[in-house]
Each structure stands twice: as structure tokens, then as C-alpha cells.
């Protein structure tokens, strides 16, 4: 994002002499230019002027010649000899341009240069060097490292140079101590990517005197010589995007007899360098400087290499271009190109992708004498797509895709030409080519009452008009609060009345808007929905049961599939896959929370935490390879119901799940005794607590070992069933899973589809049964039954037999062993009967007992004596 240098900004708007970067940031943020960062100076002094008293060349064995110099750095920093006299410091310098009589930049011990480079006295080449003469690069001022900075060449006037005294503080003179404000420019404010724009915003914020530099430059620019001025230009866009021409203005101006190798003045290099741009050559530096200053990207061509006419056209299928960065690019027929016409073949040679990046041919070089400056206006969408397609976001494309001022081109070329004349002894032509097809923008009909209707600000029409004019709008009052507003050419974002409301509101200040709390209409359902409440209850229940809630990233990959004994080739195709995952090894979204929960359990175990039991409520994502493609639809128009259905049909199912993993001890070990290790019972209890908490009716259905899913212990897993549907699994993880994840043996887990479980709830109030006051009859019944029969099946049989009279049934003993026989088990129940309307007799209870025994017998269960 752009850097703002107070020194530079001052050229367009009056700033207080003592303006700090902190205050500037505050002033700009008020109108919407946010501070990204105030970059503090990366240097610490002392860095001072040094006068080279003598420099003695000393050839070295390695072939290099170094200079042993004595440099006067002023009384404060000079050495003291044995007689107490101040004498110049001895400094070793290897730079070829070191010479006696020069004034140079001396970094003294204690100074810190960029990259935490600390200057200290050091022994080298047989001398003690007490400081260093610095190059541009060492100070972070630019790229040059060919020699040290000679101050006579460094942007000071003759008089200023004469006045430089040894020991003068260069931190200040070279702006080394200056911070820099980086601002954050929102996409609607392309014009703020320039000092011109920032200066206007400063004016909008503070009312400081602002002079638009473009006014004078435009007046200075020569009259257009039509389409065939300095060079013939043809715009031939056969494939405009959305009907918008790719190029609606092309301005080209020649600058001739430039002296090759002319130097960029130091102040300009310093400014470019502070803006993060390398100094390359005067013509390139000038185009960059003008772009930063005014916001108009420019391109400089070697005029002698370009063969007229220049043709602006779309690329042809199969066309290629090697861009300045050396990459060959396949061009799309949507790419807008700047081409020229060698051998009379119009548009046959590609010079660059318009507004994005130039090609290798036609650029200015060290030999260039005659320069053609291109200042054009390109369609935002066309540039944005080309930059996106070729992954080439450039300083130019960043500005074009946000919208460049459509009337800025002559002024920008004028400024560039002026600089090439001044610093490169060139001659600017007076016959620029200008193709101006910029369509007039419709004026916005604006009711002043919109300001109150949308912003809630009560302003007079006069204030509203004044604010609109302050941002550069032309306002025509049509009476009755109706305005006709023409937005300024640098504000392509102002198209609707609400855009103007924002301009007025931000200039008046959002603080002026009153405060009011709206009352929502109390109609229909109020409060949380039933699923929202149930979700909270489950989250609370599991925490109360002792588990810790986590929220894991939903990303999984082959390693997770493998640890959980999934076949990646089967799971991946039904998993949602990310095109650009952060971690290449986890490109999928989970189908089961257990996979990502396990990663978190592992992390805790690795951190030395024992007895980790975690749960998560979250979504899983089920990709259907047969899902229909999702259509692209325009915004700003409500899709038809069919179109909305088509949008949703392409999305994966994303049900809400809850899952838990429990490891280690089920309770705390302590002085009360040793705790029990976690096993399947803990997970089963968790599942029952969930169901009981929300009033769900669930049952467990245990698969045969051969049919058990591979993630689970084949003998210790059950489906959780509600309403006849399998909604989840509970049990112990398969020993292989525990081993792969480093979990203790018998770690238990569960996962339920809550979206489906909630659908089984009727959400009606509980219908209470009357409470009988007649006495109960209690009986203990123990059955011997085959191992194949589950406790659940036997319980259901007892319930069927007992019918209405059954009050409660509790399993109080389970055992296997010799007494009951091979493949058999004994289950003992305490059963309580009670009638609603009478005291049960001995005969009654005997009859109930017989009915129960008969039902149990259907499962092969025998009542034990």
C-alpha cells in the first residue's frame, strides 16, 4: 500500500511545519485513509559529514587496494592524540572513489545500519578502523554499492555543499531519521494511490490549502495533434468486455535528444527509494515518479525502435509475449495489448500487455535518445482480468483496476516531459497524439433527503452541496432538494446516490450522526430455535460430564485417513477438496470430526497432558461427485427460485455433528484411590447423556464383528439409532487407530449426526403420566442367554412381557463363566411392577412373571432358579 512522505506531500497541500507522522495519520484516517503502519527509521546515528584529509592507497596481497584514510569528523567525534589535541579519525575504506578532499558520509561506532549492522571500531588490514564510509545501499537509500556516497554529487547545491562542516548530523540532512506513513487504500479510492489524491484527502479532512497540480500542468500541455501527432495510434478493440472499450484514451508524447545516462537527481531517487522503488534510469524513474505523484501510470518507449502505427488491440488466440520479467506468457483473447507495426504490418509486434507489464522489445535502454511517453486510460475490468490471469499485480495494474482519472493524461505526460527536459537535456515535442474516446458519465440525480434517510444526518442543502463540491463534484441545484451531481473524473466509484451520501457523511464526520436503537418487530418465533437450544444443551452436557470442548480446523489429508484405517482412494473422492490449501498435505475437509479431533488429542498428549478427553460440535462436509455444477449468476438481481435451487444443489451436505474422544483415566487418580481406565462404557454413557439431555430416544445396535467399521474395535462398537436411522457410532477405537495416533489402549469415542438427531425430536412439551400411589411389587429375574443376544434385546423382551404394569427395570448383574456354560451369559434384572388403580396381588405378579419368561424364551433365554 502507498507510502506517504510528508516532505513530498507538502508540494500539493499546506502542512503545518511541525506536522508529525502520527498527526498526519490521524488527519487522514478521519476521512477514511487508514494507517497501515508508521515505518520508523531503521538507522541509528551517529552518522556525520566527514572531510577526507588524506587517503593513502595500500595494495593488498589479495589484489585489492584499500585506502588508509584520515577523516575529519568534527571536534565532537575526532580522535585525541597523546598531547590532547583533536585529530582526524583513522578509517579504512575499500571504495574506488575514495579520495582526499571529498566530503563523505561517516558512520561512527555506535551507529546501527539497516539489517542490524552495528558499527564498531575494528582491526583490519593492519590498522584500527574507527568508523565506516557508507555507500547508498548501506544506508538503505538506494541500490548503489559501486562506491561510497560523495556528498558533492548528492543533491546539495554548491552553496549547501560548501556549508557542510565535518561532524554535521547527516541523519537529518539525508532524511535518514524520517519515518514514513504507509496508508491502507480501500478499492474505491484509486486516486489515493497518488500524492495528488492524498493531498486532496488531507484538504478534505483539515481544510488546508490544496493546489491541484493537474490544473497548471494541463494548461501547460500543448494542444493535441490528433491521432497522428508524435506517432500514429490506432485503437482497434474488437472484443470489449461488458461492452466497455479496453482503451478509451491514448495519449503519447515524444521527448527527443535526451542525453543517455543522465542522472536522476538525488532527491528523486531518495523519494522513489522511500516509496519502495528502485532507481533504474532517469526515464524509468521519471515515469514512476509521475505515477506516484499524480496517479497516472506511464510507459516510456524507445521511440526509434517503435514502428508506427501503434495499435491497441486484443490478443489473438495462441499469441505469446515475453514480459519484462523474462517470463513467456500465453496471451488470452481478452488481454489488451499495445503493439506496433514493423514492415508495415499493422499491430504485428507486441510491445506489452496494456496497463500491466511491458515486453522486452521497445523499452528504453542505456542508449535511448528519443523517448515516447504513453499516458493511457484503460478499462478497469480488462486490466484486472489480465493482471489476475497472468498473476501480475503491478503498480500500474493496481491503479488501473481501481480506476484512473480519465482527464489526467496530458498533465502526466507534461510533468514527465518537463523532468526529462530539465534533468536529461531533452526537447519535448509540441505535437502529442491524443485519442480521447472517454464517454461522458451520466450525472447523478440526487435528493438531498437521502442524506437523512440513509445516514440519519440532518443537514441543510447548502452544507450538502458544499461537501459535494469539496470532493470535486459539479453540482447543479434543480430545486426542491433535487441536485444533479457530476462526479469528478478521478472518482469513478461515485455512481449512485448512496455513494454521495457517504461523501457528505464522511466529510461532515460520522461522529455527527446521532445514536438510536431500533426495535425489532415481535412477530412469529422469538428467541433461539429448538436446534440452537439443543446444540447448547449438548455442549454444556459434555463439559459437565468432564470433557473439554475444542474447535479444530476442518482440514484433513492422507495421513489422517491412514491413521483412521480409511482407504484414501475411496474417501478422497467424496470429500470436499480445496484448490489452494494452506497445507498441501491436508487439502480435504473432514467427513468425520473424529479425524480433526484426534489431531488435537495428539497435540495435548505430546505436551505431556494425560487423560485427555475432548469434544467438538461442528460441521462435516460430504461431497457428492455427481453434484451439479453451480451456475454463475450476476449480483444486483434476485435470482429466480429455480436459480437459487441450482445454487444450493451444487453445494455439499454439511450436517452438524458432535464427536468426542476419551483417553487415559475415566476419573482422577488420587488419595481416594486409583481411577478406572477409560473404555467403551464412558463413550456409551456420554451418548446416553446427550440423548437424555435433549429428550431424544436412542438405542444402540451392535454390528457383527465382521461388519464393524474399520475405525472401531470390532467387538466394541455400536450404531446409535433413532427413529430407525443410524445417526452415529460409539465404542472403542480400533487398536490400530490407537497405535497410529499414539493413544492409550481402549480409548473411546463417539460421533453423532446432530442435524439428523434433531429431526427425530418432536419438540412438543413432555406429556406427563399420572403417578400411582398403590404399593409396588419387586422381583429379581436372572436369565441365562446366548452371547449373541444383546442386553438391549432382552430388556425390550421384558418390557413387552410386563406391559403397563412395569415401573422400572434395572440390570444389576452380568456374568459369564462355567456355571452358565460356553457361549452363554447371565443377565440379572431388578424389576418393579405397580398398577395405576389397585394393589397387585401375588397372583397378579406371578402372571406378570410368566408373561416375561415367555417373552424372554423367544430369545432363547432361560430363567435361572
Amino acid at each position: 500500500m502507498p507510502m506517504v512522505d510528508i516532505d513530498w506531500l507538502r508540494e500539493h497541500v499546506e502542512l503545518p511545519q511541525d506536522l508529525t507522522y502520527e498527526q498526519l495519520a490521524k488527519d487522514l484516517v478521519r476521512v477514511g485513509l487508514e494507517e497501515e503502519e508508521i515505518h520508523q527509521s531503521q538507522l541509528t546515528g551517529p552518522i556525520v559529514v566527514g572531510y577526507v584529509v588524506d587517503a593513502t592507497p595500500e595494495p593488498q596481497k589479495n589484489g585489492k587496494t584499500i585506502n588508509w584514510c584520515h577523516i575529519d569528523v568534527g571536534d565532537k567525534y575526532n580522535d585525541v592524540d597523546e598531547n590532547g589535541n583533536k585529530v582526524p579519525r583513522g578509517i579504512i575504506c575499500g571504495a574506488p572513489n575514495m579520495a582526499a578532499g571529498e566530503k563523505v558520509v561517516v558512520t561512527l561506532p555506535g551507529a546501527v545500519l539497516p539489517g542490524d549492522f552495528r558499527i564498531e571500531p575494528r582491526k583490519t588490514y593492519g590498522h584500527i578502523s574507527e568508523g565506516m564510509c557508507a555507500s547508498e545501499r548501506e544506508l538503505g537509500l538506494g541500490d548503489s554499492h559501486a562506491g561510497i556516497i560523495l556528498l558533492r554529487d548528492y543533491g546539495f547545491s554548491e552553496e549547501e555543499y560548501e556549508n557542510l562542516k565535518p561532524g554535521d548530523d547527516l541523519m537529518h540532512l539525508l532524511h535518514l531519521d524520517q519515518p514514513l506513513l504507509e496508508i491502507n487504500v480501500t478499492p474505491d479510492r484509486g486516486y489515493a494511490f497518488s500524492y495528488r489524491g492524498v493531498a486532496r484527502e488531507y484538504f478534505d479532512s483539515t481544510g488546508a490549502k490544496f493546489t491541484d497540480p493537474v490544473t497548471e500542468l494541463t494548461a501547460q500541455a500543448p494542444e493535441s495533434a490528433g491521432t497522428n501527432g508524435d506517432i500514429e495510434v490506432i485503437i482497434n478493440d474488437e472484443a470489449p468486455i461488458h461492452g466497455v472499450p479496453g482503451c478509451d484514451r491514448f495519449y503519447a508524447r515524444a521527448v527527443r535528444n535526451y542525453v543517455p545516462g543522465s542522472k536522476t537527481p538525488n532527491w528523486m531517487r531518495r523519494r522513489l527509494s522511500r516509496a519502495g522503488m528502485r532507481s533504474l534510469s532517469l526515464p524509468v524513474d521519471v515515469t514512476n515518479y509521475v505515477m506516484l505523484d499524480l496517479g497516472q501510470p506511464l510507459h516510456a518507449y524507445d521511440l526509434d525502435k517503435i514502428e508506427a502505427p501503434i495499435v491497441v488491440r486484443r490478443a489473438k488466440a495462441g499469441e505469446k509475449l515475453t514480459t519484462l520479467d523474462g517470463k513467456e506468457r500465453d496471451l488470452s483473447t481478452e488481454d489488451l495489448l499495445i503493439t506496433d507495426s514493423p514492415n508495415g504490418e499493422q499491430g504485428s509486434r507486441v510491445l506489452g500487455i496494456a496497463g500491466v507489464m511491458g515486453g522486452l522489445y521497445g523499452e528504453v535502454t542505456a542508449e535511448t535518445k528519443n523517448i515516447l511517453i504513453e499516458a493511457a486510460h484503460f478499462d478497469q475490468v480488462s486490466i484486472a482480468r489480465s493482471a489476475r490471469r497472468h498473476k501480475l499485480p503491478s503498480e500500474a495494474s493496481r491503479r488501473f483496476e481501481r480506476g484512473v482519472d480519465t482527464q489526467l493524461q496530458p498533465a502526466a505526460a507534461q510533468m514527465a516531459a518537463d523532468m526529462l527536459v530539465r534533468f536529461g537535456q531533452a526537447e519535448a515535442s509540441l505535437t502529442p497524439t491524443d485519442i480521447n474516446n472517454v464517454a461522458a458519465r451520466p450525472a447523478i440525480s440526487f435528493k438531498t433527503s437521502e442524506v437523512a434517510r440513509v445516514a440519519g444526518l440532518d443537514l441543510t442543502d447548502d452544507v450538502i452541496v458544499a461537501k459535494l463540491e469539496a470532493v470535486g463534484c459539479k453540482v447543479t441545484d434543480e430545486g426542491n432538494g433535487n441536485l444533479l451531481v457530476e462526479a469528478p473524473t478521478w472518482r469513478p466509484d461515485l455512481t449512485m446516490p448512496c455513494d454521495l451520501v457517504e461523501e457528505v457523511a464522511r466529510l461532515v464526520g460520522y461522529d455527527e450522526i446521532p445514536t438510536r436503537v431500533p426495535s425489532a418487530p415481535v412477530e412469529g418465533h422469538v428467541g433461539l430455535t429448538v436446534p440452537q437450544l439443543r446444540k447448547r444443551q449438548i455442549a454444556d452436557e459434555l463439559a459437565e460430564y468432564g470433557l473439554v470442548e475444542v474447535l479444530t480446523y476442518p482440514f484433513v489429508g492422507d495421513a489422517d485417513f491412514k491413521a483412521f484405517q480409511y482407504d484414501a482412494e475411496k474417501v478422497a473422492p467424496v470429500s470436499v477438496q480445496i484448490v489452494n490449501p494452506l497445507a498441501g498435505d491436508r487439502p480435504y475437509l473432514r467427513r468425520s470430526i473424529l479425524l480433526t479431533l484426534a489431531q488435537t488429542v495428539q497435540r495435548n498428549i505430546h505436551r505431556g497432558i494425560e487423560n485427555v478427553s475432548l469434544y467438538e460440535l461442528g460441521h462435516v462436509y460430504l461431497w457428492d461427485p455427481q453434484a451439479p455444477a453451480i451456475p454463475a449468476l450476476p449480483g444486483g438481481v434476485r435470482p429466480t427460485d429455480e436459480q437459487i435451487a441450482a445454487l444450493n444443489a451444487g453445494l455439499p451436505d454439511q450436517p452438524m455433528h458432535v464427536a468426542g474422544i476419551m483417553t487415559g483415566k475415566a476419573e482422577h487418580d488420587g488419595w481416594l484411590g486409583d481411577a478406572r481406565a477409560v473404555d467403551w462404557t464412558d463413550a456409551v454413557e456420554a451418548v446416553h447423556r446427550i440423548a437424555d439431555r435433549i429428550g431424544a430416544k436412542i438405542a444402540l445396535e451392535q454390528p457383527k464383528a465382521d461388519d464393524a467399521p474399520a475405525q472401531w474395535h470390532p467387538g466394541r462398537v455400536a450404531y446409535v439409532v433413532a427413529d430407525g436411522k443410524k445417526l452415529g457410532l460409539v465404542g472403542e477405537l480400533h487398536p490400530k487407530v490407537n497405535e497410529a495416533l499414539g493413544f492409550p489402549a481402549h480409548s473411546a469415542a463417539f460421533e453423532l449426526d446432530l442435524t439428523a438427531l434433531f429431526e427425530t425430536l418432536n419438540n412438543k412439551p413432555v406429556q406427563a403420566k399420572p403417578i400411582s400411589t398403590f404399593p409396588p411389587v419387586k422381583q429379581d429375574l436372572a436369565f441365562t442367554v446366548s452371547d449373541d443376544v444383546t442386553a438391549e434385546q432382552l430388556r425390550e423382551a421384558i418390557e413387552r412381557g410386563a406391559g403397563d404394569m412395569l415401573e422400572s427395570i434395572d440390570l444389576f448383574d452380568v456374568f459369564t463363566g462355567e456355571q452358565v456354560g460356553e457361549g452363554m451369559k447371565s443377565l440379572a434384572y431388578a424389576v418393579t411392577f405397580r398398577a395405576a388403580d389397585k394393589t397387585l396381588t401375588g397372583d397378579d405378579s406371578e402372571a406378570l412373571r410368566e408373561r416375561i419368561v415367555a417373552e424372554a424364551a423367544k430369545l432363547g433365554a432361560q430363567l435361572r432358579a
Binding site: 487508514e34 437459487i644 445454487l647
Partner: protein, 355 residues
């Protein structure tokens, strides 16, 4: 000797006095019972004397009866008093023997913990429910239309490229700019629920949408690729930025205490115009109260209302979004995002069931 029983008032009085004296010195129930048997049992002087009254003359009988009544009562009172005292002492001793150290840690089955982010989202939901708003949610794998186009981020909008979006593979098609993709993303913002909510429920609409969002930011101290937002949207007749400011101030108070409030700074979002950055005045800020960035907001852009089939000349609306992580980091003085996302139980256990 039995038939020769004579009534000796002096002797029986002395015997009872001796018994009472022994009672007074007894300290256990065994002693007491032995004393009772000795001085009030069948063979005791008191019982004998009572039996001997029968052989006395009538006038003497009366005096003797009176005397025996008094002696019995004295003995009984002394016994009862001592019995109560001894029983109390024995009970106290028994309970003393059962004394435990009540400060021993008892944690057979301690509470687990809610994740503070999840709990904070519930608190924010409750804030909106308290104002009569609905809580709504939408899918995390979302169509580009709901995440971008419907919100006035056209396919060529610079802001769309600035969203650091996770794109989802799917059945290939072309987007409106001609780029090939699935038109499906991991939603970059809970704003994707805005047009869903409007189309599903119509107007007037007052909804808050808490949920997970995704951006391609690497995890570091201040960023996480998976995070949570709460989006608020109100669309009705007559809503202005004043209503937006009112709700924001209320939410600030609910989250950060009675001295908190908010301020708006001009900004830009495609789906709001005017748009603003939302700053929070945070009274408990480390180093003294001050302003902090909290979220984004604005008046619903007319193009968004049009995406939902509404007439922007008739309806206005406001929307805002705040980051749940950011809110929690501020409230609980958490300095590193890693703590929020890593799921280390020691982090959540500090919050137990609340936040």
C-alpha cells in the same frame, strides 16, 4: 430378715444420698446403670424401705410415704441429668472420632470445559435475542454468488481478489468473468448469510449470523485461517446509520462493560455504502483505556437489497461484522492466537463453563 423389715428413715435417706453422690461422680453409662441397680433396684435400700412402709402405723405411713416420694424424685432427677450429660459426651466423642480434613481435594469427576469462543458466541447470540432478533446460519462451503456476487463483489471487483479466498474443487464451470472454477468457496465472511436470510425470511429482517469463516492466512500470533465472525443485519423501512450506531454501542457495553462505546471511521466494503470501520473504546485496555479496531459496518448497499429482490428506495438496512476471536482476545487479555486454535486443554480449563 424380710419379715422383720422395719422402716429406718435415716438409713434410707443416707443410702439415697450416697447413691446420688455416686451418680454425680459417674462418667459412663455402665457406671450409671450399675448405680441405678444398686440404689434403685429390687434389693436396694430404697426398694426395701418402700416395702417396709406397709408395716407402719397410719400417721407414720403418711410421713414415710412423703419421704420416699422425695427420695425417689431426687434420685431420678440426678440420674436423668447425668444420663443426658454422659450420652451427650459419648456422642460427641464418637463424632470426634469421625472427624476428617474437609479441605482434602475431592475431584472424582471434575467438570470439563466449554471452549471460550463457543461460549462467547452464545453470549453474543443472547444479546441479539434479547433485542428480539433471530439467530441465523448458512453453509460454510458456500457458493460464490452468496459470498461475493450477491454482496456487490462482482467477479472483476478488486476487493474480491483481496479476500484471500479458499477455493473449492468441484464440477467445473465458468464464473461470470470467464475464469474456470466451481463457483464454490469456503465462505470468507458471515456476510454470506445476508442475502440468504433476506431471500428466505423477507423483510423486515433483524438477524445475527455467528459462524466460521475461512481465509488463506497462515496461523500466527494474530491470524488464523479458520476463525469466527458474527454478522448482524437489519433491513426495514426507516433504518439509518443512527440505528447502526445505537446497536453497536449496546453490543460494546454487553461485551466490554458500561464504559465501552464505539466510533465509526469512513471505509469501504462492497456490500455497504456508506461504509465504516468500527472502533471500540476499550476501558480495560492494557496501558490505559483507548480505541481499538473491532470490525466493519455500514448501510446495506442498494445492490445487495436488489440481489434479494428488494426495492432500495423503500427499504434501508445496516450490517456489521465483528470478529469473535478479536473480541475474546481483548476481553481475556490473550496475546497469542495459537492459544485459541490449538485446543490445549489447559487453555479452555481456565474458563471452565463460562468465558
Amino acid at each position: 430378715m424380710a419379715e422383720q423389715m422395719s422402716f429406718d428413715a435415716e438409713a434410707v435417706t443416707a443410702a439415697v444420698a450416697e447413691g446420688i453422690e455416686k451418680i454425680n461422680h459417674a462418667s459412663t453409662m455402665e457406671e450409671l446403670k450399675a448405680i441405678k441397680s444398686q440404689y434403685a433396684g429390687a434389693q436396694s435400700a430404697m426398694t426395701m424401705a418402700s416395702k417396709a412402709i406397709g408395716g407402719l402405723d397410719k400417721p407414720q405411713k403418711k410421713d414415710a410415704g412423703k419421704l420416699m416420694g422425695k427420695l425417689r424424685a431426687d434420685f431420678g432427677r440426678a440420674y436423668g441429668k447425668k444420663e443426658a450429660a454422659v450420652k451427650a459426651a459419648e456422642e460427641a466423642a464418637a463424632l470426634a472420632a469421625e472427624t476428617v480434613d474437609m479441605t482434602l481435594p475431592v475431584e472424582r469427576k471434575p467438570l470439563g470445559a466449554r471452549h471460550p469462543l463457543a461460549k462467547l458466541m452464545e453470549d453474543v447470540e443472547d444479546f441479539f435475542v434479547g433485542m428480539g432478533w433471530q439467530i441465523s446460519d448458512g453453509p460454510e462451503v458456500e457458493t460464490e454468488w452468496f459470498d461475493f456476487d450477491a454482496l456487490n463483489f462482482g467477479p472483476d471487483h478488486p476487493a474480491r481478489q483481496m479476500q484471500d479466498t479458499f477455493y473449492v474443487k468441484g464440477n467445473q464451470t465458468k464464473d461470470a468473468a470467464g475464469f474456470v472454477g466451481s463457483n464454490m468457496v469456503l465462505r470468507t465472511q458471515t456476510s454470506s448469510d445476508q442475502v440468504r436470510g433476506l431471500i428466505k425470511n423477507g423483510v423486515p429482517l433483524y438477524i445475527a449470523c455467528p459462524g466460521r469463516v475461512f481465509r488463506t492466512d497462515e496461523l500466527d500470533a494474530t491470524h488464523t485461517p479458520v476463525f469466527h465472525q458474527i454478522e448482524a443485519l437489519a433491513v426495514d423501512k426507516g433504518l439509518t446509520m443512527a440505528d447502526l450506531k445505537g446497536v453497536l454501542d449496546k453490543l460494546a457495553v454487553a461485551m466490554f462493560g458500561p464504559d465501552a462505546h464505539t466510533r465509526l471511521r469512513p471505509s469501504y466494503f462492497p456490500f455497504t455504502e456508506p461504509s465504516a470501520e468500527l472502533d471500540l473504546w476499550f476501558p480495560d485496555k492494557k496501558g490505559g483505556p483507548g480505541w481499538l479496531e473491532w470490525g466493519g459496518c455500514g448501510m446495506v448497499n442498494p445492490n445487495v437489497l436488489r440481489s434479494a429482490g428488494l426495492d432500495p428506495d423503500e427499504y434501508t438496512g445496516f450490517a456489521f461484522g465483528v470478529g469473535v476471536e478479536r473480541t475474546l482476545l481483548l476481553r481475556s487479555d490473550i496475546n497469542d492466537m495459537h492459544d485459541l486454535v490449538e485446543g490445549d486443554v489447559r487453555f479452555s480449563e481456565q474458563f471452565v463453563m463460562g468465558e
